[in-house]
Amino acid sequence: MQYLTNIFFIIALIAGIGFFVMNIKKLSRNIKLGKDVNRTDRKSERLKNMMMIALGQSKMVKRPFSGFLHIIVYVGFIIINIEVLEIIIDGIFGTHRIFLGVLGDAFYGFLIGTFEILAALVFVAVVIFWLRRNVSNIKRFLSKEMKGWPKNDGNYILYFEMVLMTLFLVMNATDPTFQQAGIGNPISQFITPLFDGFSADTIHAIERTAWWIHILGILVFLNYLYYSKHLHILLAFPNTYFANLNPKGQFNNLESVTNEVKLMMDPDADPYAMPEEGAEETVPEKFGASDVTDLNWVQLLNAYTCTECGRCTSSCPANLTGKKLSPRKIMMDTRDRLEEVGRNIDTNNGVFVDDNKQLLNDYISPEELWACTSCNACVEECPVNIDPLSIIMDMRRYLVMEQSAAPQELNMMMTNVENNGAPWQYNQQDRLNWANEE
């Protein structure tokens, strides 16, 4: 009987981690539905970006207030997790504060004391975050795409963090031997008096309950990640590593197009040539993207990494002037559609069955895509180097090259470029007239 709690703990731990691993595998499979793109070059530059931007939060602090609060929560999250290691060992072996004996009073006290201060700071930061989302009139949290689940999701994460931090402090406050030792309790010593007059048994029961809910809460939170925007705490690292390193103005040249253009411009090419006998019938490649599977895996990783902070949207010239385009919505739509495709594959034994839906039109409208000025403000703003612009461009390519569905004025512009080498209807022979005017 005495091992019952240990066994229960181990089962909970295995179930919690196991379920998480299962979902991560699903996540990875979904990301791999994307087209290949080579992002294995320039490794040291990539590593540096990851260290600076994901680990070092260098882009977060461009907006100092929210950046500072975010760093508190982020540092708190990483450091306090050292405590989770102790909780896990205690849980498995039925020990209590195993690190105390190992590390000695002074160092253990220093560690836990630091955790307590961080926990209190995280609590305060998270409350401010909640106020920003729910009370302050911050435009980027009030956009259309933030209604319903995205808003609730953001709040649930904050509640989780408030509860977990509270439980950690209560757990310490209701541990009489820990309090008596007077080491590492800079915050919890002020909570302990709340329990004055409770019997020793009750206090012990509260301590155990807080301990259990704390660790079970962490396991639940871990598994909540997959269903939430909060995945960024993990994916920010690969996302910044694999991000585009070329100048932001450099858009990729479609290789499939290059091949066709070369053929068209080759004077020796036979336009009526039949495919060679026995040559495999190849499906002509689709130009641009109308669904998530036409995007590359980095774009899909971007979609899962987005935490919907909306810095992109708040700097987008189209959005700032009331157009429908919101780069954040582009990322959310891409993720939601990818999830839908993933669920379709799961329910159909590993194969995707056409659902008559796609990213274009069912999620993202041409009106949104045509409002983009390709100014790269969204790409610049993203604290984890997500590139919404590349998705917008790939979808425009589909609209133009597969559907000839450009706005009429753009069709005229393109006809002009084709016929007279300029976007306007001027004669190519007049191209040097400017030199002799005035």
Partner: protein
Amino acid sequence: MNVPTMADMMAQGKQPEVLFWVGAAGSYDDRAKKISRAFVKILHQANVDFAVLGTEETSTGDAAKRAGNEFLFQMQAMMNIEVLNGYEIKKIVTCDPHSFNTLKNEYPSLGGKYEVYHHTQFIQNLISEGRLNIDNTSLKGKRVTFHDPCYLGRANEVYESPRDLIRRLGVNLTEMKRHKETALCCGAGGAQMFKDAEPGNKEVNVLRTEDALKTNPNIIATGCPYCNTMMTDGIKFKEKEAEVVVKDIAELIAEANNL
């Protein structure tokens, strides 16, 4: 105005120091033509041996590419590359950040590898080589704000060259709240120049003009013919033509040097 073409040069068996890529706006747009001429005056003053393609120049394909027409872009690119490589061009300068970006970043993988400069970078080099001086007295005391073109700034991280030149004019440079990395687009990029905006509550160029007007400028300086048009229209919309002018940095330098 003496603007030699590559064809002339070739006939004389000469190879110029640099090719001036004029671009469609610089060739045809009445406002932008003035920028082309101002830049040529600067090139002449610095005794730069340059040439243009003239009637052999054609659209870089930038607008087509941003509109989603990769086919048309690559057709244009390959035609241009054939001409440029035929003339053995090594070095290109342009007043158009869109041409700058496309020639510099998107042509190499299609076979067109050149050293490409925005005119503000090129002029900066002329100064550091001692080939050009900017008169810092004639515009002294003017309040100037600089609007970063997206395809020069964020797209290629050229923020300092234009600012360095503005400071050399002896004017007071006041930055807008949104500048450099956080600059707001003028609204013309991504082929928006050639179409009406989607429904919204404001035009992007008006919002950007409001940013600029907050600095209470005499001059809004730009480094892009499209930005120039958008900001000029914004000033007209705000009925500020009497107080504020929109000028390319090349025009300001030509004016300061009395060219």
